[in-house]
Amino acid sequence: MSIEAPDLSLAALLPLLFVFGAACVGVLVEAFGPRESRHPVQVGVALVGTLGGLVTTLLLAGTGEVTAGGALAVDGAAVFLQATIAGLAALSVLMFAERNLDPARSAFVVSAAVPAGSVRDRELLTVQRVQTEVYPLTLFAVGGMMLFVAANDLLVMFVALEVLSLPLYLISGLARRRRLLSQEAAVKYFLLGAFASAFFLYGVALVYGATGSVRLADVRSAVGAGDGEVLLVLGLALLVVGLLFKASVAPFHTWTPDVYQGAPTPVTAFMAACTKVAAFGAILRLLYVAFGPEEWTWRPLVYGVAIVSMVVGAVLGLTQTDLKRMLAYSSVAHAGFLLTGVLGYPGAGDPAGSGLPATMFYLLAYGLTTLGAFAVLTLVRSGDGEATHLSQWAGLAQRSPLTAAVMSLFLLALAGIPLTSGFTGKFAVFRAAIENGAWPLALVALLASAVAAFFYLRVIVLMYFSEPAADGPTVGVPGLPTTIVLAVTAAATLVLGVVPGSVLALADQAAIFVG
């Protein structure tokens, strides 16, 4: 038996090669670079990697090919989502690189190996040295995410899932302040994440048993022919559970608030924005490409979890007193809104439809807004790090009108108020759902939005109409990196709300799955 070398289209793989190449360079710099110059070099490598990934994906616009022996599908949807991930990751790297806000010059721990709370740890807390292992780890996670949305094979999807998850488990435990919370978040994320990926893997095995292949196209033809019905349905359910966990959809969301709160805020921003895009990219490809003919099996499942996710996110969001946890529940609710878009699947005959472009646009809009909201959180600080308790934000508009105004913009966008990107995104996914007969779901989504709007507006009211406490938090002056992040995300939130036409048209053109 001879083994054939797979055909590799290097042009189509260029974005992935760029990001993974930069990650490997980052590891070498970490090992051999002199300590003094490591931080600027690592930031440079990470920015070149992510921006290079962004530019190379944009150059690929319009391609639609299956490469690497059928394992990767570089099509319109993959390119759009890869560009979204790379762009959001570049902004996240800028947030990681911020050195003006923390008195010790970095949000990341100097030495993760030193036990938290020990004498040595207290000494290191004020040392102005910065550790840079977070940059190569982030690049590996970004590479895994970009691979995840292009995976045309369940095995590649599993490997990409792990490549994106493992670095995330590590970097969520690297906070400089409140290290116990951060480590606890990492343990919880790791144990639950490994549990969920075991379910995903069992799903892969069952689908393989039913169809004899893990290629999405082969699975699709086996599904169409009605082979191995029981195994396929079980496999589909397990695969979807694994993916819904990553997308933090209720009832698989229990890790989300804890990890979002415990992880360093720049890492939370990165996770909230990029992981969501990657997980939904994979969900869309799995359901539309492989299980399109099985639509009536997964439709009730997705319908149900969408409702649970919206209701749980909106209702539990109301009860939160910590802003990071509140944004985590907001992310759970938004995962439900995104699933409304996933249900806009027009049927096996027409893979384009309105569900795919609507969901892709929503992912871009939500990613930018949530990244901006977390960037504002890094500005407001009290003695021991960020002031995330709701009561500390009272009267913030009197202390810093600009910060309060920018935060209000992001909160209004998350609530879906017109003239912000959130409204355009919600309008697009609800329309897609209604066009496909899921109007009861759109109705629930509207009610959930109304409930969720209450807790976003509560923060705005608190910032503008409360008296500031005497010992309130200070608002830090951000350096260039965070300023760029805030400017880009705020501008994008407004532009995608006021003149979304061209981006919506782009998402429409890109909404093609091959394979």
Partner: protein, 99 residues
């Protein structure tokens, strides 16, 4: 011994692993249960490779082993770091983040 026996054995092992994750309190034991789940999937994969007459399942089992090894490295590092602080690997003691 038919192939079905192997599939049933794998399903039982997977269930033992899943229940173990849910009921055990020590992070290391929880992690071992996850590994048990991964290895039961390996058994399922090679059985299906035999049943369908394709080699993909055996190759996938190798991929799973490599991924599981990488997961051990990351997982033990994380559990180790929290153990050194708390002197305990119990998942019940890690309760600062809630509600």
């Amino acid at each position: 011994m038919t192939l079905t026996h192997y599939l049933v054995l794998a399903a039982i092992l997977f269930t033992i692993g899943a229940v173990g994750v849910l009921v055990r309190r020590n992070a290391i034991v929880v992690f071992m249960c996850v590994e048990l789940m991964l290895n039961s999937v390996n058994l399922t994969l090679v059985t299906f490779a035999r049943a369908t007459g394709t080699i993909d399942g055996q190759i996938m089992a190798f991929f799973v082993m490599v991924v599981a090894a990488a997961e051990v490295v990351v997982g033990l590092a994380i559990i180790m770091s929290i153990y050194r602080t708390r002197r305990s690997a119990s998942v019940d003691d890690a309760n600062l983040l809630k509600y």
